[in-house]
């Protein structure tokens, strides 16, 4: 019996563990989790800025720490998480934009996703080129 003053009461199902209910939700939670990796790398860089302000010895210590095996493993993990983050972000990007019309025709979602990857590739190449130029 589930009555409220004689009136049948609608049953509200609990939401506990909702994200395990569907593989789509699991992938969504994974996407959100990769944001933690983005934060972690921001912390690594912020520590570098603080160490730079503390002088040459502190700065060199930070550089040495970056070359340690645990740091390499951490960077590989963060890179993998960043890749998932970028992939999922470009997947959802067409949903976040207003309709774009080029030459009177609506731009397809897949084109917007590809444009995101193209921009990533171009900026990455530019960044590597800048780093090479800086070293030489």
């Amino acid at each position: 019996m589930n009555l409220d003053g004689g009136v049948p009461r609608p049953f509200v199902r609990p939401m506990r563990g909702w994200w395990r209910r569907d593989p789509f939700f699991v992938r969504y939670m994974l996407r959100e989790l990769t944001a933690v990796a983005v934060l972690a790398y921001a912390v690594v860089l912020a520590v570098g800025v603080v160490r730079l302000s503390q002088g040459e010895v502190a700065w060199n210590g930070w550089l040495a720490a970056l070359r340690a095996p645990w740091s390499i493993v951490l960077h590989v993990l963060i890179l993998a998480a960043m890749a998932v983050h970028a992939w999922s972000w470009f997947q959802i990007m067409p949903k976040t934009l207003p309709m774009i019309f080029v030459g009177g025709r609506r731009l397809a979602g897949a084109t917007i996703t590809r444009a995101g990857w193209l921009a990533t590739a171009l900026t990455s190449i530019a960044l590597f080129a800048l780093a090479r130029w800086w070293q030489s």
């Binding site: 049953f11 909702w18 976040t96 009177g104």
Partner: protein
């Protein structure tokens, strides 16, 4: 004619007058290749247990009445075929996140109230007399809102939206898609009246961009797109009010 094979259909039953909570019941249903899940339920109601409650009307994916969870996914039961779910069992329950009134029937009251609140009709940009003729629209202007007109209010997107499940005050994907349908119409001038609903905590900002609503939509309305492009509209509306105090919704 081929002999029908039996398929097991499990239904989450709930009769509030004697059940403290919903419980699964299993039925053996003869199944032919052309039978939809809805027809399976109709067989149960007609031949096995007449107390089973569910909504349906058109049987052709246009009325939006027969939405339910089929094997955990929000689906129109008239559009889902038992042959694709062989060998079973097929698990059917009321649309997720919505309160169950009885068996597969959910409470749509909240949805209808929200739908009413967004003024889902054209509010003419400028009044015209009959003598002035019809409102003209270019194909490009039509395309800006046409997909959102396909919504059939089936609420599958609400069953796909965990944010709505966690907070039923959220206006939700379907109603926001319909709100956007009118805002995006070149003949409409009601955006300023609808904007407070979008700007509210329960408006677009409750959306976590899961995107499952657009996946399950049987009419390719893409409600996630309607919700998320209005986040930019809402942010612009917020900042523009500092420049033009009388409200400067674009």
């Amino acid at each position: 004619m081929p002999e029908p094979k039996n398929i097991e259909i499990c239904v989450l039953r709930y009769h509030p007058e004697h059940d403290p909570e919903p419980a699964w019941r299993s039925y053996q249903v003869p199944c032919t290749d052309d039978m939809s899940v809805l027809q399976g339920l109709q067989h149960i109601k007609d031949e096995i247990d007449g107390t089973l409650g569910f909504r349906w009307s058109c049987r052709m994916a246009i009325c939006g009445s027969c939405g339910m969870m089929v094997n955990g996914k929000p689906r129109l039961s008239c559009q889902t075929f038992l042959r694709d779910l062989q060998p079973g069992p097929v698990r059917i329950e009321a649309l997720a996140h919505l309160p169950i009134e009885r068996d597969l029937i959910v409470d749509v009251g909240e949805f209808v109230n929200k739908l009413e609140a967004i003024k889902p009709y054209l509010i003419p940009r400028e009044p015209r007399t009959l003598a002035e003729g019809e409102y003209l629209q270019t194909p490009a202007q039509l395309e800006r809102f046409e997909q959102y007109t396909s919504c059939i209010n089936c609420m599958l997107c609400y069953a796909a939206c965990p944010e709505y499940g966690l907070n039923r005050d959220f206006i939700g994907p379907g109603v926001i898609a319909l709100l956007h349908r009118y805002n995006a119409d070149s003949r409409d001038g009601g955006q300023a009246q609808r904007q407070p609903i979008l700007n509210a905590e329960e408006g677009v900002w409750s959306c976590m961009a899961v995107g499952y609503c657009s996946e399950v939509c049987p009419k390719q309305v893409d409600p996630a797109n309607a919700v998320n492009q209005n986040k930019a509209v809402s942010a612009r509306d917020y900042f523009l009010r500092f420049l033009a105090p009388k409200g400067a919704a674009p």
